[in-house]
Symmetry: C2
Subunit: 391 residues, 2 copies
Amino acid sequence: MPSLSEFIAANRRAVQLDPIELSEPVPLEELHTPALTIDLDIFESNLARMQNHLSSHGLGLRAHTKMHKCPVIAHKQVAQGALGVCAAKVSEAEIMADAGVADILVTSPLASEEKYVRFADLAAAHAGAKVVVDSTGAASRLDELARERGIRIGVFIDIDPGMGRTGIEAGEPVLELARHCLDNCQHLRFCGLQMYAGNCMHTEGFENRKAKYEKVMSKGIATRELFENAGIDIPAFSGGGTGTYDIEPGLGLMTELQAGSYAFMDIEYRDIGSSSAERFEDFPVSLFLLCTAISQPQSRLITVDAGFKSLASDKMAPQFRDVEGVIFHWGGDEHGIVQLDNPSRMLNLGDKLPLVTPHCDPTANLHDFYYPYRDGMVTEIWPISARGCSH
Amino acid sequence: MPSLSEFIAANRRAVQLDPIELSEPVPLEELHTPALTIDLDIFESNLARMQNHLSSHGLGLRAHTKMHKCPVIAHKQVAQGALGVCAAKVSEAEIMADAGVADILVTSPLASEEKYVRFADLAAAHAGAKVVVDSTGAASRLDELARERGIRIGVFIDIDPGMGRTGIEAGEPVLELARHCLDNCQHLRFCGLQMYAGNCMHTEGFENRKAKYEKVMSKGIATRELFENAGIDIPAFSGGGTGTYDIEPGLGLMTELQAGSYAFMDIEYRDIGSSSAERFEDFPVSLFLLCTAISQPQSRLITVDAGFKSLASDKMAPQFRDVEGVIFHWGGDEHGIVQLDNPSRMLNLGDKLPLVTPHCDPTANLHDFYYPYRDGMVTEIWPISARGCSH
């Protein structure tokens, strides 16, 4: 019989981290659906494009693994040039550490004893694990746990960009918390500031987005000035995402970008528009949920085997990649009901159909494996190792 | 290197099926959040109440495991008197079979070769596995696969209650499909009819719900008459759910109820009203997502560590069980932002707070384990073994 912590450790050890190579290639049409597939040509081109863009502007990439939850992909991002990754939760960071990803920042603050201890244990085993703090209480407790373990814990101070989600108020409070870390917490290492404006990422229209983001970030710039005047170095400024990747160079605040969605993309991001087009397709969609038509109770409807349990439903409905003139209606937990208004092709029972996902992050979190393919063939399977790591 | 089917089989074998007993009891407050907890007193009373109600009216319970995805719970339902269970997908049925649940009906039709084969293999290994059919094509192919395996496959004919989701049109088409099964498919066993009116389960107000359900089900009654006139026995009539549990006895069509949510309940069901009260609390809520307050960027807001990745978002926002005068706003994939209008108690960083879930089925599907408790203590953990089994 395990204790609670032994139970948690055993489950962590049981996670599959490596790609599974198949003994023979499998055509997409033979996958058991719903199956989360990745078009490798588009995916690889997205990884390269983001890294090249950032490198050419002297910015680092801290890829957000909360999006894909997959160490195989994290390693590809690092191999491509990313300086490290983000994780939203401690349990997610553990998986990335177990898989050998060196530099990992937990981007959400901790506030309970078992999480402080769990993170300190991770940092003791994995020197590259860092975490954000947004209160003196968290900083002090992490400092104490680091002292007990004979280590130094790297921390970023999280700044609220006005969303009211996480982070300390911009300006003087940030400086005070930094001073607390530098002066009173000998076992913390001040790594920099984080300011992630999630409320700007999906603003429609490039000019709107840019204007809104610059306004929100002006408080970040003012905070940086406070640090400069106080003679306190800011080793790194972390934040931004796919939606601001081409705004950051001009703004000049971030030193590293926390982008995630660019690798897969989804309807939500595609529809915000880019600097040059109505659709944001600088990074085309590479992730598709393959589903199957399983029932046709009425002549103008056909039902597919994907609902709330295989597609995140916090945003709009999914769309078919290859069929126009149809509307996907949510049909509950396991089904989608497709209204055949003026379909661009015949749909028959048994057809396998790729869907563009509404929101890639929580959709990936519903699945255990990715099925990457090239030329319609799947040769290996990638475990979504940190799926369900919400704690 | 495995083939695709060896890979699927290996993952199935790796699933944990049994409860994990802890070496010492853990207080709820020490759980790592978000954690899906079950109030055992309420849960057990819900199981007993539904079974007693149905038994006293001569109805069977075919508990739907798509809701809890947990063999531990399925076994409790059967021990309590359920005649069997439902599963929404073949992969879900496999897990229940592996755990030793005898009678399992897959309630969604199959329409692709790899799923026909997968189900036939399951039926060959597990005699109690049955599936619905809603087309002659599916019936004929399953018959052929049963013949090849030297078995008979039990089938229910799925009838569309007018939702347009799955099922064949009520009336003559059902009779024709039954004749096809009986006359041309020697390796199928005709087990009965299924007619699940998911579109009636959440109709608000008992009288509204009853009237709507009776109207929809009149086509089921007419179909039964067609069978009676044709001299074809209907061994069982399966359908209905938590929302119609007290309507079925008067209607007299169903012989077995496909209820699932009654064990856990959620906001969606609670708010439909019962025959005697504004809230449907014949089965009180027993499922709670425990979350932690982790940040307070602004004085009138506090942020908890639960968002789209730990709470299904297809319905309304969650509610706190023990705190009034606050509003939960979705704060993205990992967060909820709690607006402190007139809170009935102080909320502090680190507080552990139980949330009532909006929709229990897809919420359970986001988690790996249940933490059942009594008197505030967790003594064992139940694996959500079929979580992610959407294929």
